[in-house]
Structures are given as structure tokens and as C-alpha cells.
Amino acid sequence: MEGVNVSTHPEIPAEPTQIGTALLEKATATIQGFDPVNKIHQHLCAFHFYGHDMTRQVEAHHFCGHLNGDFRQCLIYDRPDDDGQLIGVEYIVSEELFLTLPDDEKQFWHSHEFEVKSGVLFMPGVPGPVQRKEFEKVAKTYGKVIHFWQVDKGDNLPLGIPQVMMALTKDGQPYENLAQDVENRYNISFEEERENRACIKGPSHGIHPMANAAGKGLQTVLREVECCKEGKSTRVFV
């Protein structure tokens, strides 16, 4: 059963959809193909925090599809409802794929071992034993998350520049009230699930030291650049 997310839920300022528009979209929804989107088969709930600020934590609802056994691509919404706001994307790769990344790319990616073993990453509506089968795999993966809409700030439109996000890696990081709210809403217990998942193992080679931004803060900045006309760009710092 899914309830209302009590965290910030800014309203987008706007007119309700007009009838003509709604009718057209009934037509397009019926006639057109939606193959890439129809691959999305899973809903996972977890928390992200901003790469430069662990004190800002966001409940993140992932809607994921596999491109193959080693790779998932996910749309992230602030809530799993009909009017959920699309706030970001996450890519999830197996440990094998992660290890092929150059070191300076690895910093963008976070490990999933703690989220899985602590129980805070879960699949709403799916029985525990089925989830655990899935999480045996997920515990060894790494994710890259970008958010584009800072709903925790109360932004009612996707303002500003993209934010690289990180995931929880140890006890003491998540806010108790955020965790409690999710537990109440979904009628689950993270503690209980932690016990059930005790045997699940993380990456075979251990968590890579370059993952999770190598423990540093990561912040995005915007630069104005000379847009090239011949395939090379010259950066101008402003």
C-alpha cells in the first residue's frame, strides 16, 4: 500500500490540462509505441543525498529497466504516484562493468552494499524472499545518480544545474524521521529486513576506494564556453 510522501511536495504553478490537449494525448497513448518505457519493470525506493551535502536527503523512487544482465537504467521520481515529479536518473551497473570505468569516472558512482544490507533500499509491494533474491545481485552493483529538480528545497520547477547525488554508506547517516516515515507508510521495518538480509554479500572485490567520490564532496558548477563550430571547444572561465 502506498501513502503520501510527507517530505517537500512543491506544487507546479499552472493551468489544468485543456480538453483538446487531453483528447490528443488519449489518441497518442493508444496509437503510438512506447517500447523503451515498457522495459521499465521495477520500482525501488531508497534515499539519496547531495554529493556536496549529506544533510540534504531525498526520498527517491526508482523505476528501472534492464538493458542486459549487468545494466539497469532508472527514472527517479519524488513519489510513486500518478503525479510524481520526474527528478532524476540513475544507472546501475554490475561490479564487473564498474571495474572497467576509468578512475576519474568511478568517483561519480556509489556502492549499494549498505543500502541493501541495512534494508533502506527496498521494492514496495514485493514479498521479502523475492526482494532478497534480487538484492543478492544489487548489493554488488554501483549506481550513478543525477538529480535535476531540487524538490527538498521547495523548488516548484526544475531550476538550476544538475546535482550528482550519493547514497547512504553507513549507519548514522540517514535521518531517523525520514526513515521512520517510509517505514510507516509502507508498513515495513528496516531493522527486521536488515536481519533477513544478513547473509547478503557486497562486491566480490570489496567496495572500490574511488567509488562514493573517494569520500570527498562533489559539486557541479556551470561554465560558459566557446561553442565550437569544428569539433573542438575552447573553455573560457567566467
Binding site: 536518473v89 570505468l101 567520490a213 557541479t220 558548477v221 556551470l222
Partner: protein, 264 residues
């Protein structure tokens, strides 16, 4: 069937899904409601350009959710088949909403008037080289850039009038056009096709797309002939036009993370 780039390399690399994985997937799908995904009710095919290098141009497939009359949110893929790569997100706002944004925000957005409107707008373009223009104009007479595949043009025509007045903000997170097998680097800002200068889309890209969807030139010509262009386009949008072909890049800086517990 795995998606491949021009050299045949599989993108992304990886093993096929196991039978067990398929079953877990199917199981989840049956038990979970996946509500937000069910609200994607339009597929749009158009083109976009990298704001830091507008010679790099891509065909995009937007899967659109209309939130209300003034706001749409789109998941953007690089193809329309089941193996398509999720390459970013685009947000679309009405002109009314756009005007409420501060100028520093507006510079990240692009206009849609050109993609949606008639070829007659092209006639005002004097800056592109003549030869490219002639070929492009001829091709443009045959098609609009923004299309809803499979939907008769007359059905979408009213929506194009709405769309022509909107502004978009499109961040790309996976540069499959340059062969990236996995999503690499920080996100990049994208711009929309325009009729002038570095905003002009390569006509070959457009022709390939039109051939793929068997787009009827006569139907499009008839249907789009009277779409009015907006009276005014905010000059902060399409930033490169009024700012000497400048674009934007997102870069990463290492900093002291504000913490409430040790990390990692």
C-alpha cells in the same frame, strides 16, 4: 538483441539477463503499480544539439508526461526500440511559466518554435551558407523536425501550436553518439534546432529519420502551413544566438562535504 554502435560494439556491455532475472522482473512488474510510468502518453521524435559543441547533433525520442497545461516532463532515449538508451531528461514549460524564471535560469532553456513551426520561418534566415540553406530549405519543406511517430499530422496539429510557444531544458546524461559504452562524465546541456547559424541540423540526419518513419511530405506540408509563430521569443533562451555562440558546460569540483556522520 543488444544495441550496438557503428563499430558493432555492444552498448552497454554485459551478459544477457538470466532466466531467474527475467522471472524476478516479471514478478515485480505484476506486483508493483509503476504509476508514474503509466502517465507517459506521447512519443515525440526530434533533434538536439550539444550546447558546448553544436556540430554534435542527435535524433532524440521523448516519452512525455503532461503534468498540466503549462508543464511536461520527458524521459529522453536515443531510439524507439526496446534496447534504447536512456540519455537524459527534458522539461518543457509554457511561455507564461518561462517568463517567471530569473534570467540566469532562462539561459539554460531553449525555444521550440522552430522545431514545431512551418518552413516559412526559414525564409528569414540570412546567415547560413547559401548551399546548405538551399538543400535544407528543400528538405524542410518536406517535413517538420518535431514529429509524433505514427500519429496523423492533422491530429497533432493543434498541439504543435501550443508547443511552438514553449521552452525546454534538456540535460543529457549519456553521450551514446560519441560511442560511450556507459554513461560517462557530468551531464551536458542540450540546445534545440534553429534555422540560423550553428543551430541548423544536418539535413541528412533529418532525411534518415523521415525515411525511417515514412513521413509523408504532402501531409506535413498541408498540416503545418498555418501554424503561427510566437510573437516574441525570450532572448535569454537559445543563449548562443544573442551571446556570440557561447554554450555551457557542467564541471565537477571536489569540495568539503557537509556531513552529519562520517563518509564513506
Amino acid at each position: 538483441m543488444a544495441a550496438t554502435n557503428g563499430t558493432g560494439a555492444q552498448i552497454p556491455p554485459g551478459k544477457p539477463m538470466s532466466v531467474e532475472q527475467h522471472m524476478l522482473d516479471k514478478g515485480a512488474q505484476m506486483l508493483q503499480s509503476l504509476k508514474p510510468i503509466k502517465h507517459m502518453n506521447q512519443h515525440v521524435c526530434t533533434f538536439a544539439l550539444y550546447s558546448h559543441d553544436m556540430t554534435r547533433q542527435i535524433e532524440t525520442h521523448h516519452y512525455v508526461t503532461r503534468v498540466n497545461q503549462d508543464f511536461l516532463q520527458c524521459a529522453v532515449f536515443d531510439a524507439d526500440d526496446p534496447m534504447a538508451h536512456l540519455i537524459g531528461l527534458e522539461y518543457i514549460v509554457s511561455d507564461r511559466l518561462f517568463e517567471t524564471l530569473p534570467p540566469d535560469e532562462q539561459k539554460l532553456w531553449h525555444t521550440h518554435a522552430y522545431e514545431a513551426c512551418t518552413p516559412s520561418i526559414l525564409s528569414s534566415n540570412k546567415r547560413s551558407s547559401k548551399r546548405v540553406n538551399i538543400i535544407f530549405y528543400m528538405m524542410q519543406i518536406k517535413s517538420g523536425l518535431w514529429v509524433n511517430p505514427r500519429v496523423p499530422e492533422m491530429v497533432v496539429r493543434p498541439e504543435l501550436e501550443n508547443l511552438a510557444k514553449t521552452y525546454g531544458k534538456f540535460w543529457c546524461t549519456w553521450q551514446t553518439d560519441r560511442g560511450d559504452k556507459l554513461p560517462m562524465g557530468p551531464p551536458v546541456l542540450m540546445m534545440s534546432p534553429q534555422g540560423t547559424g550553428i543551430g541548423v541540423v544536418n539535413p541528412v540526419l533529418v532525411q534518415n529519420r523521415d525515411d525511417k518513419y515514412n513521413i509523408s511530405s504532402d501531409a506535413l506540408k498541408t498540416a503545418r502551413v498555418e501554424i503561427a509563430e510566437p510573437e516574441w521569443l525570450n532572448p535569454q533562451a537559445d543563449y548562443w544566438k544573442q551571446h556570440n555562440d557561447k554554450g555551457f558546460a557542467v564541471e565537477m569540483e571536489t569540495t568539503e562535504m557537509k556531513k552529519r556522520a562520517s563518509f564513506p
